[in-house]
């Protein structure tokens, strides 16, 4: 119950982590099934329809429900700590964001149980995703599930922006913020500007499918290219939403374990902002083969290539952070260091794709699949593992097992290279993506086999990580504030795990790498910006949960409004949108309650602080 009503950012972070792990697991299992189907030519492990459902759900689940929440988990736990805040700007909305995200994800994945699964690719191009060509409820699950979960993500984005703008401790100016916080800031801004676009896209698609709209219905004047534009105006920034937090993690981890200040901090900030901005100007590079014409293709080619420059700045800054440092190979740092070359390999294939005439060959082949798994798995996922190992003690008060962590790293890393390196060549030799099988003797057979073996190794790696988590959870919580010994930022000045009020006294920040600076000056704790006093805390609330349940119910109501259940009562309830109305009523009712009911929160008094301080 405590977990259903919590508004504590650290607990919400852990909820995000659990949900993310669940969906990452589901997406991973789907990936393994995909790879098993492709292990040999003309395999019939799954049929064509199931395969299409698998890739669609794998892509959608991984991107929207696997990667995003784990990023949001780290942002939730760490960002307020790094800026010296007691909480996020909107604790209530934070909880609401999580629950809407979660119920959206559950709704989408219920499609497996109900038996009509989205099957038009994670991009849901039309007309394939229209009722004419995909007339089960699959794509409805996609539109409605993603809309609800996207709403949650959007709320999260606004929350983090407001938090970083308004909640920084005294002295924590923008140019003193740790890189992870900066990355979170820009990522949140991208969320803010990108998600409304896809929301509109999904609404249009939903209107077309459920209410007879004509946006993408060609006979009545609709246009299918419009969908692709809207999707990618969102979709490309989305990939930077994914990678920027990883960049932030790497910056923090690498500098910590090199015992060295981040090289070129201000150019790192500048590069992050620039990547964020350029990210919105390049969406059509996913559409070179659509036929936009040479002018558009040339413009978008060049715009896309430009992104290599700020990204390169970041890469070299990391390398030179390590240069002259004293590098310690913890599991976290191994993930972080291996991120650099691996991501570069993904990035440079991206630049190859950016050359439109060459992309006519690469597009929709396994070369692209290789590109984006190098950036996503070899970038984001390695980054997330680095971050999880690094901040695990702060989140749970226990250190993940290091030797096991290193074994996991090697298994996962080698498995990753085996799976995806070879896919570059598959693409160049002519294998398209999204094929449920392929003819023998085309030179694809052995490469696919290798790729599948690699995927299984990655699976074993992930299982080992879970084992590590389980083992660790039995260990006692006995860590100090700064278990790595080399912490540089504010989160390492407070107990692990963090007490609910974070900072007993709001710290006074005197420079970049605030904690490191104090340590170097011989201080054992941060100077305080205020005397010890009573701390105001927001009270827990079940409303966020209920509001999300309402949306969940409404989603089902809309989706099945036209179905015949063979049952008059059900037909009546759904057919007249009564279920949908009921769901919306719950949501708006809770919203109303929230608006009229004053929530004064509660206070933690100084005496209690002392006790709790001892306990932690």
């Amino acid at each position: 119950m405590d977990w259903l009503t919590t508004v504590d950012h650290k607990k919400i972070g852990i909820l995000y982590l659990l949900a993310g792990a669940l969906f990452f697991g589901i997406g991973g299992i789907e990936a393994i099934l995909i790879r098993i189907q492709l292990i040999k030519p003309m395999n019939d492990f799954v049929d064509a329809q199931t395969f299409n459902e698998l890739i669609t759900m794998h892509g959608t689940t991984m991107i929207f429900l696997g990667a995003m929440p784990i990023i949001l988990a780290l942002m939730n736990v760490i960002v307020p700590l790094q800026i010296g805040a007691r909480d996020v700007a909107f604790p209530f909305l934070n909880a609401l964001g999580f629950w809407t995200f979660f119920f959206g994800g559950i709704l989408l994945n219920l499609s497996w149980l109900i038996g009509s699964v989205p099957d038009a690719g994670w991009t849901s191009y039309l007309p394939l995703a229209s009722v004419d060509y995909s007339n089960s409820h699959g794509v409805d699950f996609y539109t409605i599930g993603l809309q609800i979960s996207g709403l949650g993500t959007l709320i999260g984005g606004i929350n983090f922006l407001a938090t970083i703008i308004n909640m920084r401790a005294p002295g924590m100016s923008f140019m003193r913020m740790p890189m992870f916080t900066w990355a979170s800031f820009i990522t949140s801004a991208l969320i803010l500007f990108a998600f409304p676009a896809v929301t509109v896209g999904l609404i249009l698609l939903m209107f077309d499918r459920l209410f007879g709209g004509n946006f993408f219905y060609v006979p009545n004047g609709g246009n299918v290219v419009l969908w692709q534009h809207i999707f990618w105006i969102f979709g490309h920034p989305e990939v930077y939403i994914l990678i920027l937090p990883a960049f932030g993690i790497i910056s923090d981890v690498v500098s910590t374990f090199s015992r060295k200040r981040l090289f070129g901090y201000s150019s790192m900030v500048f590069a992050t902002v620039l990547i964020g901005f350029l990210g919105f100007m390049v969406w059509a590079h996913h559409m070179f083969a659509v036929g936009l014409g040479p002018v558009a293709n040339a413009l978008f080619s060049i715009a896309t290539m430009l992104i290599a420059v700020p990204t390169g700045i970041k890469i070299f800054n990391w390398l030179f952070t390590m240069w002259g440092g004293s590098i310690q190979f913890t599991a976290a740092n191994m993930y972080a260091i291996s991120f650099i070359p691996t991501f570069v390999m993904g990035g440079v294939t991206g630049v190859m794709l950016a050359s439109a005439p060459a992309d006519f060959q690469f597009h929709d082949t396994y070369f692209v699949v290789a590109h984006f798994h190098y950036t996503i798995v070899g970038g984001l996922v390695l980054g997330l593992f680095a971050g999880l190992h690094y901040w695990w003690p702060k989140m749970f008060g226990r250190m993940l097992n290091e030797p096991l962590g290193k074994v996991t790293f090697w298994l996962f890393w080698i498995g990753f290279q085996l799976t995806f390196f070879i896919q570059h060549f598959l693409g160049l030799l002519g294998m398209q993506r999204r094929v449920f099988t392929y003819l023998p003797n085309q030179g694809f057979d052995k490469m696919n086999l290798v790729s599948t073996i690699g995927a299984i190794m990655m699976g074993v790696g992930v299982i080992l990580f879970l084992v590590n988590v389980v083992i660790t959870s039995t260990k006692p919580k006995n860590l100090g504030n700064d278990p790595w010994g080399d912490g540089r930022t504010l989160e390492w000045t407070i107990p692990s795990p963090v007490p609910e009020y974070n900072f007993k006294q709001t710290p006074l920040v005197r420079g970049y790498d605030a904690w490191w600076k104090e340590k170097m000056e011989g201080n054992t704790e941060m100077p305080a910006a205020e005397p010890v006093g009573s701390i105001h805390m927001p009270s827990p609330s079940i409303l966020p949960f209920m509001m999300s349940v309402g949306l969940f119910v409404a989603g089902f109501g809309f989706m099945f409004a036209k179905d015949d259940f063979g049952n008059t009562a059900l037909n009546f309830l759904f057919g007249n949108h009564l279920i949908a109305a009921f769901g919306l009523l719950i949501t708006f009712g809770c919203m109303f309650l929230r608006s009229v009911k004053d929530d004064h929160g509660y206070h933690i008094e100084p005496e209690e602080l002392e006790q709790k301080g001892v306990k932690a």
Binding site: I158, L161, P196
Partner: protein
């Protein structure tokens, strides 16, 4: 998100909506939200612009739209924006009564706008311009309807705030809420400026 329980209300600050951290959070958070709304409406406008000539067998924009009607609703919305500015000024001076009155005028104008819009839609449907007629009609109803839904939400929201201020008085908790709702209302007005320009007037021009 509540104000410090022990705030002394002896002096009404110059910008009450930003006098507390909660208030400042609310205001900046809301601005951020509006940034997102700008993209939302931008995408809807983009859709409309892409499809505005695809009228199929349905009536065209020039045939449908009636300028006097549009001019009237525009005037209503513009005036309501002005009245909501007055409400905020009253709020800053802590003239609760005046503020409430201006808010009530705003809500009434909002209702008038909605009423006329519904009347307009019904009229169009009679002329064979339904949501499913053509790509133009779908995108028209979606864009204008989204705006209408925003107006409806605003009307409901401001009404609740009126009741709340009546009950609990104007203080550092309610002030940011009123302020933010006014910003929202202006934003709706700004969107309407583009709607009457791009949808109606440009539709008339062809």
């Amino acid at each position: 998100m509540s104000a410090p329980a022990h705030h002394v209300d002896d002096q009404w600050p110059h910008e009450p909506e930003k006098a507390t951290l909660e208030g400042r959070n609310k205001v900046i958070g809301f601005w951020l939200f509006l940034g997102g709304e700008a993209v939302l409406f931008g995408t809807l406008f983009a859709t409309f612009l892409a499809l505005r000539n695809q009228i199929g067998d349905g009536p065209s924009a020039a045939e449908l739209f009636k300028l006097p009607m549009i001019a009237t609703v525009t005037a209503i919305l513009l005036v309501s924006s002005l009245t909501s500015v007055f409400a905020i000024q009253a709020m800053h001076r802590k003239e609760v009564k005046a503020m409430l009155n201006w808010l009530i005028v705003t809500v009434i104008l909002g209702f008038c706008f909605l009423g006329m819009e519904i009347y307009e839609f019904v009229e169009y449907v009679h002329e064979g311009h339904t949501f499913t007629t053509s790509a133009f009609s779908s995108s028209f109803y979606t864009l204008v309807g989204f705006h209408g839904a925003h107006v409806a939400f605003g009307v409901a929201w401001i009404s609740i705030l009126i009741a709340q201020v009546r009950k609990k008085g104007l203080n550092l908790v309610t002030a940011p809420k009123v302020y933010v709702s006014a910003i929202y209302w202006h934003f709706i007005d700004v969107v309407w400026v583009f709607i009457f320009t791009v949808v109606y007037l440009m539709g008339k021009v062809g």
